[in-house]
């Protein structure tokens, strides 16, 4: 098959560019730990969420200096616990599951954005360096009250 010299150069450029993107993404993911959410597989019976630790006691608790774990449940149409507060400069590890349908978990303006699925536990961590009231919203259609499904994280 004949390929024009300039087409070979173009495709070479394209391949190199794609390869560089993949290398950057790969290094960030596997060498620097900047990867998609929920890297660890953890299953849960979605009909027994309220009885299964730690989701039997949703809430935010300190686990180390400037480190918190937020154990949360998503449901149609809200999150438990209802409101949370952490001091500024804290890293929060969000551990979330759903007790009914698939939901989203997004904090606009941050890289916190993940799917919450019944039967699975989702995890993402974020360091809150600026104070404020952070909106946590559901960005996966879950029913008639979907647009009202949100909560807040207050960083003081």
């Amino acid at each position: 098959m004949h390929i024009h010299r300039l087409e070979k150069i173009w495709l070479g450029f394209g391949l190199v560019m794609l390869f560089v993107f993949l290398a950057v993404l790969g290094v960030a993911a596997f060498a620097m730990g900047i990867q998609p959410p929920s890297p660890h597989h953890q299953m849960i019976d979605p009909t027994k969420v309220k009885e299964t630790p730690p989701f039997d006691q949703p809430g935010i608790r300190q686990v180390a200096d400037k480190e918190y774990e937020a154990v949360m449940t998503a449901y149609a149409f809200g999150y438990a616990p209802a409101a949370m507060e952490v001091p500024v400069g804290s890293t929060v590890h969000f551990t979330v599951t759903s007790s009914d349908v698939v939901h989203g978990f997004e904090i606009p303006g941050t890289n916190v954005n993940m799917m919450i699925e019944p039967g699975e536990v989702s995890q993402v961590s974020h360091k809150f360096t600026k104070p404020g009231e952070y909106l946590i919203l559901c960005n996966e259609y879950c029913g008639i009250g979907h647009e009202m499904m949100a909560t807040k994280l207050i960083v003081k």
């Binding site: 390929i3 993107f21 998609p36 959410p37 597989h41 299953m43 954005n113 699925e117 960005n139 029913g143």
Partner: protein
């Protein structure tokens, strides 16, 4: 062109083609009404009357635009080109396949639409479990898919017959590309068929109690990514095979065109995880593997870009233009049969750029489930593909109805194309920007209790509504144009099939060794999916009951 030599399109084939095209535009019209309402509701300009829900409209919009308009237009267009390029007339058995497929799809589609209107299936066109719609919704979907298979088998049959009666000859390019398109569809729909028939139908009828949610989503997205290539490939057929004829040029490289289609076939299927990058239950490793495979599917589009520019440039040089961009001057800008698809090509540049960003593994966090994604696919399918399909309509309806495209119709077509581009610039542009700010997709009007972030999104959503209104006028004009084409001046229009610049011998025959390419596809799918899917199965995996949350 010697008018006496133009062979009229076979009238029975024409009826089959027209039935598909007209139903497609009927769906576009209904889907457009839904889209308009959605945009003004989210723009804060209108409250829906009681009795119709935002998510009901959204389900209808997705099904009508992304499943009905597309599939019907594609099958109609492919049948037309298969008839024109491979025999000039379809075999009677092939026409029967075509009509049978049409009946199955239409019966199934009407059942689906009725369930949506009855608010028994407000689950959006992705119908994610464990939201549980009416079992008739899923049954209707199954009928649509089965109908589309039957239509595909008709195309395979006509191709097989042509090959048998032209022993040793290279197949016509349109026919080859139509076969790749329907082959892609056949392999891709296996996923959604298993999801619907094995999981959703028994569960929604109550024969099984619970469902494996992660598996159902994985089966859907195994289908959902190649679905967009099912939409794109027919647009590529127009760009590769039809446009050279329209501009008075020739097809640049028949061989590379076929190769690009085979690469699209191979690499558009084993990549569904890039729609699931934010999900639990799939390891970072396998997400990354499928991201790498996704980036491979960019290559045939880069090849296509070069081929198209080369076609234009060589066309210009053969007509005496010089310099780097002189070829732009001799392109038929005032001909809607060129202008509309060309705008589709141009818009595919930002569309494709967005796609690469979306697929970029952890970078997807920035855009997942935001309005950026909605902006992206309004560029890809709703502009690049849709405008190309609109451009095709201006010659296809005349061809199959023995009419001509009049200068007046052509002018209306140019206006419609410009309206579409302006409306989409505002709507999709605003969607991309507000999506980066975090505004969610698939969400009715809300400010989350007047939260400052959500309030800051409203101006963008107002611009989206303005774009939506302009686009709706574009829909109305297109529907008018279709109706007017049906009553246009009588005459004979030739089917605008392009000719290759190169002789047949320049195309290697391994490009038609279907066993090889299907085999490679199966291997890639098994490689990309076997292990992660096995980790989703088994007796220890918890399943979910159904919920009706609307």
């Amino acid at each position: 062109m010697d008018l006496a030599k133009i062979k009229a399109f076979d009238s029975r084939d024409g009826a089959l083609v027209l039935a598909h095209i007209l139903f497609a535009f009927f769906a576009l019209f209904l889907g457009g009404i839904a889209g308009l309402l959605q945009s003004v509701v989210r723009g804060g300009m209108y409250t829906l009357p009681g009795g119709i829900g935002y998510y009901q409209l959204l389900t209808a919009h997705g099904v009508l635009m992304a499943l009905v308009f597309t599939t019907y237009f594609i099958i109609g267009f492919l049948y037309s080109g298969v008839s024109a390029s491979m025999g000039g007339k379809l075999l009677p058995v092939v026409r029967r396949f075509g009509w049978t497929g049409y009946v199955f799809m239409t019966v199934g589609g009407l059942i689906v639409l009725i369930m949506i209107l009855l608010n028994k299936a407000s689950v959006l066109y992705t119908f994610y479990a464990p939201m549980k719609a009416s079992p008739y919704f899923y049954t209707g979907l199954a009928l649509v898919v089965i109908g589309s298979w039957i239509s595909g088998w008709g195309i395979f049959k006509q191709y097989w017959y042509w090959k048998k009666t032209h022993h040793g000859k290279l197949s016509p390019l349109f026919g080859f590309m139509a076969v790749v398109t329907m082959l892609l569809w056949q392999v891709a729909t296996i996923g959604v068929a298993v999801e619907v028939v094995v999981q959703l139908i028994p569960w929604s009828f109550g024969w099984t109690e619970k469902i494996n949610v992660l598996l159902s989503r994985t089966l859907f997205w195994y289908f959902g990514h190649p679905l967009v290539y099912f939409w794109l490939l027919p647009a590529y057929i127009c760009w590769y095979v039809i446009i050279p004829n329209i501009i008075g040029g020739k097809i640049y490289s028949d061989a590379l065109a076929r190769m690009s289609f085979l690469l699209l076939f191979l690499f558009s299927i084993p990549v569904g995880f890039h729609h699931q990058l934010m999900e639990p239950g799939i390891s970072s490793f396998w997400k990354y593997v499928q991201v790498v495979l996704t980036f491979m599917v960019v290559i045939p589009s880069l090849m296509t870009a070069f081929s198209l520019f080369a076609t234009f440039e060589l066309n210009g040089r053969s007509k005496g233009t010089t310099g780097l961009f002189g070829w732009l001057k001799v392109l038929p800008w005032k001909d809607v049969r060129f202008f509309a698809p060309f705008m589709g090509m141009l818009v595919f540049i930002p569309a494709g750029a967005g796609g690469i960003i979306n697929a970029s593994n952890q970078m997807n966090v920035v855009v997942h489930n935001t309005l950026w994604v909605t902006g992206h696919f309004h560029l890809t399918v709703a502009t690049s593909v849709a405008l190309t399909f609109f451009g095709i309509t201006y010659w296809l309806i005349p061809v199959v109805t023995n009419r001509v495209l009049t200068p007046r119709m052509n002018r209306l077509g140019i206006i419609q194309t410009i309206l579409w581009c302006v409306g989409m610039f505002f709507m999709s542009g605003a969607m991309h920007l507000v999506g980066l700010l975090g505004a969610p997709r698939r969400t009715a009007y809300t400010t989350y209790g007047d939260t400052p972030e959500a309030v800051s999104w409203m101006p963008y959503q107002a611009v989206m509504a303005i774009g939506g209104m302009i686009l709706f006028i574009g829909v109305l004009l297109m529907v008018y144009n279709v109706a007017a084409l049906l009553r246009s001046q009588k005459g004979v229009t030739a089917y605008p099939l392009g000719e290759s610049m190169e002789p047949e011998e320049a195309t290697p025959r391994y490009l038609e060794r279907w066993g090889l390419w299907i085999g490679l596809s199966v291997m890639l799918i098994l490689f990309a999916y076997s292990i992660p899917v096995m980790q989703m199965l088994g007796p220890m995996v918890p399943e979910s009951p159904g919920y009706v949350t609307w």
